[in-house]
């Protein structure tokens, strides 16, 4: 089914369910080719760049974090730990900038043909993702502080310690950091599953809003 037709039919069904089905909406749904295709409302270029930069950074930080945790002391372990911390602080900074950008630039509205529970679920996942973009790095940073290793961003910028040195607290924070990171991983999977469903099952334009490339 062509996408436009799908959208118009869903819109008519939603309107009927809400008891607001107009003749016009019904006519559009019966004869979709008469309605001109709307250009896709996309995220801004900056939002798209930040989304994909963070996607790559988060994936890299997660994989390095998984791999390094049980390494024996070696130059490789020290390198990976520091790269992981540098990536985490970078993610924190980029996320702060991204949140500011997001608040200042209204994203495209969710299409009205989506059932309300799907829109709510997408919004909830997005909110939780943003929350974890901050909580995961902060928990990792606090863990590093408690373990007695201050974070020196890129080996140059000395960041303040979030908590004092405390071995027991360090262990707790390591568990918290890891649990939050796995939660973030799970949400990312849900987010990706939703995107794939829209792209390959529903075949609508939702994913296109966040894909880099030329504007139509």
């Amino acid at each position: 089914m062509p996408l436009a037709a799908y959208i118009l039919i869903r819109r008519a069904i939603a309107a009927a369910a809400a008891g607001t089905l107009s003749e016009e909406t019904l006519a559009d749904a019966m004869n979709p080719s008469a309605v001109p295709a709307q250009p896709v409302d996309r995220y801004t270029d900056v939002a798209i760049a930040l989304h994909w930069l963070l996607a790559v950074s988060l994936l890299a930080a997660f994989c390095v974090g998984l791999y390094m945790a049980d390494l024996k002391l070696s130059p490789t372990r020290i390198r990976l730990f520091n790269w992981h911390k540098w990536a985490g602080i970078s993610i924190l900074v980029l996320s702060a900038f991204r949140l500011g950008w997001r608040l200042a630039h209204r994203p495209p509205a969710e299409p009205s043909y989506l059932p309300a529970w799907q829109r709510r679920l997408a919004a909830a996942v997005h909110h939780l993702l943003y929350l974890l973009f901050f909580l995961v790095p902060i928990a990792g940073w606090a863990h590093s502080s408690a373990a007695g290793f201050p974070v020196v961003w890129f080996g140059i910028i000395h960041l303040p310690d979030l908590v004092g040195v405390d071995k027991q607290l360090a262990e707790t924070l390591a568990d918290v950091h890891s649990a939050l990171a796995f939660t973030l991983g799970g949400l990312v999977l849900l987010h990706v599953a939703g995107a794939l469903q829209h792209r390959f099952v529903l075949k609508d334009d939702i994913v296109q809003r966040m894909l880099p490339g030329r504007r139509p």
Binding site: L73, P75, R79, A147, F149
Partner: protein, 195 residues
């Protein structure tokens, strides 16, 4: 051990002699280190991150007369097995042959060769530091302060760990562990004449 049975008069002479020695040394007692008020610590850097360490056991043999500092002498002996680092895996690592090789070289020694006074409270002590059988000449700036009967000699000096083969093999990469190590010391001594 061989035991020597001295005749009675000889024993009396020996006793008198040792009493005399004790009296002489009481007149100019050798300075004694107060370990509880002394400290030798160091900071190394892992990819820019400062890692603090310290030695809990060390000794100092000091001769120092503020009126003739150039005649003084410092010998500092550090028990490398007493090193303290922030994590247990670092503690296990540092004794290994690539680092201190503590089993073969349990001690580091600094022996002064010259003392130069800059002013009443500041001195420059030149000497030879030996760690892991490797020696380097050092010039150590030392500030000396006095409070009551306690004289404190404090300062810091930058060492290059690779000059002593500390962190050999895969650890030679100074982009992971920096070559420079800052050593700080504070030696509290009794028995030094007023400045």
């Amino acid at each position: 051990m061989m035991r020597i049975a001295y005749p009675r008069p000889a024993r009396a002479a020996l006793a008198a002699g040792s009493l005399l020695l004790a009296m002489l040394s009481a007149a100019a007692p050798a300075p004694v280190l107060i370990p509880s008020q002394s400290e030798i610590s160091f900071v190394s850097h892992q990819m820019g991150v400062p890692i603090d360490g310290q030695f809990r056991s060390f000794d100092a043999q000091v001769q120092f007369d503020p009126k003739a500092p150039q005649k003084g002498h410092f010998l500092i002996d550090v028990d490398l097995t007493s090193v303290k680092l922030p994590t247990s895996d670092a503690m296990e690592e540092v004794v290994k042959p690539a680092w201190f090789d503590s089993a073969r070289f349990p001690h580091a020694q600094f022996v002064s060769t010259a003392i130069r006074a800059i002013d009443k409270e500041h001195y420059e002590i030149t000497g030879r530091l030996t760690i892991k059988g490797l020696s380097q000449d050092l010039v150590v700036p030392v500030a000396i302060t006095q409070a009551g009967t306690v004289t404190t000699a404090a300062g810091q000096v930058s060492l290059r760990r690779l000059a002593f083969a500390i962190g050999d093999g895969e650890w030679k990469d100074t982009s992971v562990v920096a070559d420079n190590v800052e050593v700080r010391f504070r030696l509290a001594l009794t028995g030094i004449a007023p400045l």
